[in-house]
């Protein structure tokens, strides 16, 4: 495979780079996101962390240099709403690992489902994403009303423990009547209030509960336990909601219970952007949704992220479209960003929406999302505008380690570039 050979032999030359303790990326246009862009900037990585960013920096002794002249240097991209690692192949024969089907068949409460516990670090779907500059993802369960807890992981590591940036970054709530197995949204709201209220009561009366002296609650002990940080307002409740009136209802619920909330999907968010901004609630939205796919999202439009941002809402871009941007094509988060720009968002804001904004919304901004000193060295060197299709990620560092593994897709491509294939290792 012509170019891949070049790509990988170039990387072989930089074998020292892979194990280097100190790396200096020099000469590129650096977009730290934590500050303005730096022409001819330098990013210094030491022991997996960013230790300096700026112009005219002195190179530390022993630093291995990466020449990024003419290139763009950004934080690794962060796709906040994925199911990466939970399921290898979707479809009926491969029931996914993202859904508690037992809960789905009964009350829809799977609040204790911990996504991090189901992630397969060996998934062949992971490497194709980091090859295209995605270094960090949010992984979420799906399907149920209270679907479970998400995790933020970096896309490198042999074990889930190694990959994990933070477990339990949020609790996912599908704000829909059908997910709650109720026929009506009002009934879903009533159930939500009951459950959150019971979770609070359970927290106050654990001793009585254990002694069998508390009244019965709307969910089992593990589910109520899992909801404790949510009702305490310390763990964000990620509310998946589309219709404008439902967004208002979700914001009211958050106020009533003192919840920390993130809105997800928010198809009609632009229609209530002022209210969302006033509530200081971040949103995670797609930039390519413009089809009234359901009666709850009739006013889908591509300007949604731009209009929300213009109203002062903290916007994270996610890929909630039909092209499997949650798993096989997480890499298309940069296409979402490009489309957000095409439909009114500034380029800088779009970059922020796929780096710092998700890190802030999910409470991991101290670890990832910018090139600020002290952050994990998730850094990507691009040979052009990262959102443009023709641009390649020439160097992807995750926690300071250059990623060089060939993906399964690379192996297949290499095998079939010559026809007929030999069916031997190249």
């Amino acid at each position: 495979m012509r170019d891949l050979t070049i790509r990988f032999s170039a990387l072989a030359l930089s074998a020292t780079l892979a194990g280097a303790q100190t790396i200096a990326i020099t000469g590129g246009t650096v977009f730290p996101v934590s500050g303005p862009k730096i022409e001819n900037g330098t990013v210094i990585i030491t022991n997996g962390k960013i230790t300096a960013v700026g112009a005219n920096l002195a190179l530390p002794p022993g630093a291995v240099r990466v020449d990024a002249a003419g290139k763009w240097v950004t934080p690794g991209l962060f796709s906040a709403a994925t199911s990466l690692g939970l399921s290898e192949a979707g479809g009926p024969q491969f029931s996914g690992g993202y859904n508690d089907t037992r809960a789905q068949a009964s009350d829809g409460i799977a609040a204790a489902f911990e996504a991090a516990d189901g992630i397969n670090p060996a998934s062949t779907f992971i490497r194709p994403q980091s090859e295209e500059g995605v270094t960090t993802v949010g992984v979420w369960p799906s399907g149920n009303w209270f679907a479970g807890r998400g995790a933020v992981i970096d896309l490198a590591g042999e074990t889930v423990g190694e990959m994990t940036v933070k477990r339990g970054v949020g609790a996912y709530l599908n704000f829909s009547a059908s997910a709650a197995n109720t026929g009506a949204r009002a009934a879903m709201l009533a159930r939500t209030r009951e459950l959150l209220g019971d979770a609070k009561q359970y927290g106050l009366r654990k001793a009585q509960y254990e002694a069998g002296a508390a009244r019965s609650f709307a969910a089992s002990r593990v589910q109520l336990e899992a909801l404790q940080p949510v009702v305490a307002g310390t763990m964000p409740l990620v509310i998946d909601v589309d219709r404008a009136s439902d967004i208002i209802a979700a914001l009211a619920l958050a106020k009533e219970f003192g919840l920390k909330v993130v809105l997800a999907s928010a198809t009609e968010g632009w229609m209530v952007a002022k209210e969302i901004a006033a509530a200081k609630v971040p949103v995670m939205v797609g930039a390519m949704s413009n089809i009234p796919t359901s009666f709850d999202g009739l006013n889908a439009r591509q300007e949604n992220p731009a209009l929300l941002r213009a109203a002062g809402v903290a916007v994270t871009l996610i890929d909630n479209g039909p092209g499997d941007g949650q798993s096989y094509n997480v890499r298309n988060i940069r296409q979402q960003a490009g489309n957000a720009v095409a439909y009114g968002m500034s380029w800088d804001e779009a970059l922020r929406s796929v780096t710092a904004a998700p890190a802030e919304a999910l409470g991991v901004a101290d670890r990832v999302g910018t090139l600020a000193v002290g952050r994990s060295a998730n850094v990507v060197v691009w040979d052009g505008d990262p959102f443009e299709f023709t641009t390649k990620a020439t160097h992807v560092f995750i926690r300071g380690a250059l990623q060089t593994t060939r993906s399964r897709q690379d192996e297949l491509t290499a095998r079939y570039l010559k026809l007929p294939p030999t069916y031997k290792s190249p």
């Binding site: 479809g91 024969q93 491969f94 369960p141 997800a264």
Partner: protein, 476 residues
């Protein structure tokens, strides 16, 4: 997060299972008064066009777009050129053109023009938005061979996805039935224009297509009654063609002399016989390389040809065979992995098929992807280049224009910007292979059908009135 649709292809089938709802139908009064004068033989002799196109090109002023970069799909990019259209046809294209009298002159300001984009794989109208069981009309998943159904009879022309496709620069669509069945039924080729009924959208003179499907979908849908295995899939295709061949012979013999009682008509066999006569083009949903090679053998056994393999996630493994056999590949830029037969998807699939000399096509099978065929082509080209396959921008544009035109048998009318061709064209704000590109204006047969800056030139379906807010002027 919600369980997101991984691939419309299988999702559509899942939805089909919901279809058992029975609305109480009003009983029509028996119409005894109506006398019908049948044309002799009309009841028994097949009519090749019982639902004729009523599409009419609106009268439109001649248009010249000057100072524009033109991807003609028939030669190299014309930089800073002009294109002229009149009476629905292209009358000039090049560095400069003769100005027709009374022509509206548009300054392209260095923007780009392409032919109207063409999607060989759409379910618009048969799986409309919003998704409801009441409009779930794409898969007749009641028997593994349903050659008798025609997609056009399910098309809801008020599907709000049609205007969104047009705004994405798509002017021609093949609407297919779903992939639940071994042989699903007839497709229809539509112009993306408003109409009260599907007949007003039908592309005049376009051949019909036949949808066939390999692999997982049919054997999953019919697991309990069969086919439940791939070997039974193949037995099912062959049995259908055996019956069709017999039917064709019987009818061809009668049609020669037209004497005596005609053979009994059978809608399914009528369609299949037209395939065997070469009048209907086969569009075969097939993911795996091994199955594609088996389908080629089946086509050879019964003497028909396959016009396009659809989805073909493993087409790159048999790209040389597709080139040799003259079969096009209607493919995704980057879909894969969503089921076992899609596991081996690679992003360089389209470029590898192209490099082998076969006709590569970017298709969608998805109302979102269909609006962005140009972006998908840009992605597929970039993936090819990353794998070391040189693909020119001109060739990538062919994947969404002249190559799909060929797959639909319409490359003599659409797909290129050449004098005499239909004036289907798109004016883009920038290079259409860029992620930042948007269609600014779209013409179908020389008539302006979409203008991003002018809400009056933005088709709103009946459905959207009162449900979807009108353009508030903040549309980019």
């Amino acid at each position: 997060m919600r369980q997101t649709p991984r691939a419309a292809a299988w999702l559509a089938i899942a939805a089909a299972g919901l279809g058992a709802q029975s609305a109480p139908a009003a009983k029509p009064a028996p119409d005894t008064a109506k006398k019908v004068n049948y044309v002799a033989g009309a009841l028994s002799a097949p009519n090749s066009d019982p639902f004729p196109s009523t599409y009419q090109r609106p009268a439109a002023r001649a248009v010249v777009i000057k100072n524009v970069n033109i991807f003609t799909s028939a030669g190299p990019l014309i930089r800073n050129g002009s294109i002229a259209v009149r009476d629905g046809k292209i009358i000039g294209v090049g560095a400069s053109v003769e100005l027709p009298p009374d022509a509206e002159v548009i300054d392209g300001n260095g923007r780009y023009v392409t032919p109207g984009l063409i999607d060989t794989h759409s379910h618009l109208g048969v799986y409309p938005a919003p998704g409801t069981a009441a409009h779930d009309d794409g898969n007749e998943a009641t028997a593994p061979v349903t050659a008798h159904v025609w997609a056009e009879h399910s098309v809801w022309p008020q599907d709000p996805q049609f205007p969104r496709n047009l705004a994405g620069g798509v002017t021609t669509l093949q609407v297919l039935v779903g992939s639940a069945n071994l042989i699903g039924g007839r497709s229809v080729v539509l112009k993306v224009v408003p109409s009260r009924a599907v007949q007003g959208m039908k592309f005049p003179g376009a051949k019909y297509g036949l949808k066939m499907a390999c692999g997982e979908n049919p054997k999953r849908v019919y697991q309990s009654r069969g086919p439940a295995t791939r070997m039974a899939n193949v037995a099912g295709y062959r049995a259908a063609w055996i019956g069709a061949e017999q039917y064709r012979r019987r009818w061809d013999k009668w049609l020669e002399k037209r004497e005596g009682d005609p053979p009994a008509r059978d809608l399914g066999n009528e369609t299949l016989a037209e395939v065997l006569r070469g009048n209907i083009l086969v569009h075969n949903h097939c993911y795996q390389a091994d199955e594609m090679l088996q389908m080629i053998d089946i086509a050879r056994e019964f003497g028909y040809s396959i016009r396009s393999f659809h989805h073909g996630v493993e087409a790159y493994k048999v790209a040389d065979v597709l080139a040799k056999e003259g079969i096009s590949g209607s493919l995704w830029a980057d879909w894969g992995g969503f089921k076992m037969e899609a596991l081996d998807g690679v992003k360089s699939n389209i470029a590898m098929v192209h490099a082998a000399g076969a006709r590569a096509i970017v298709h969608s099978d998805d109302p979102s992807g269909s609006q962005r065929l140009n972006q998908e082509a840009g992605k597929a080209r970039a993936a090819g280049m990353a794998a070391g396959i040189a693909v020119s921008e001109e060739d990538a544009i062919k994947w969404v224009t002249v190559n799909p035109a060929w797959a639909l048998g319409l490359d003599d009318k659409i797909g290129t910007l050449e004098v005499g061709k239909n004036a289907d064209l798109v004016l883009w704000n920038t290079n259409p292979l860029s992620v930042y590109s948007r269609a600014d204006k779209v013409w179908v047969d020389g008539a302006l059908r979409f203008d991003r800056r002018d809400p009056k030139q933005q088709w709103r379906t009946d459905f959207e009135l009162g449900y979807v807010k009108a353009n508030d002027g903040r549309t980019k």
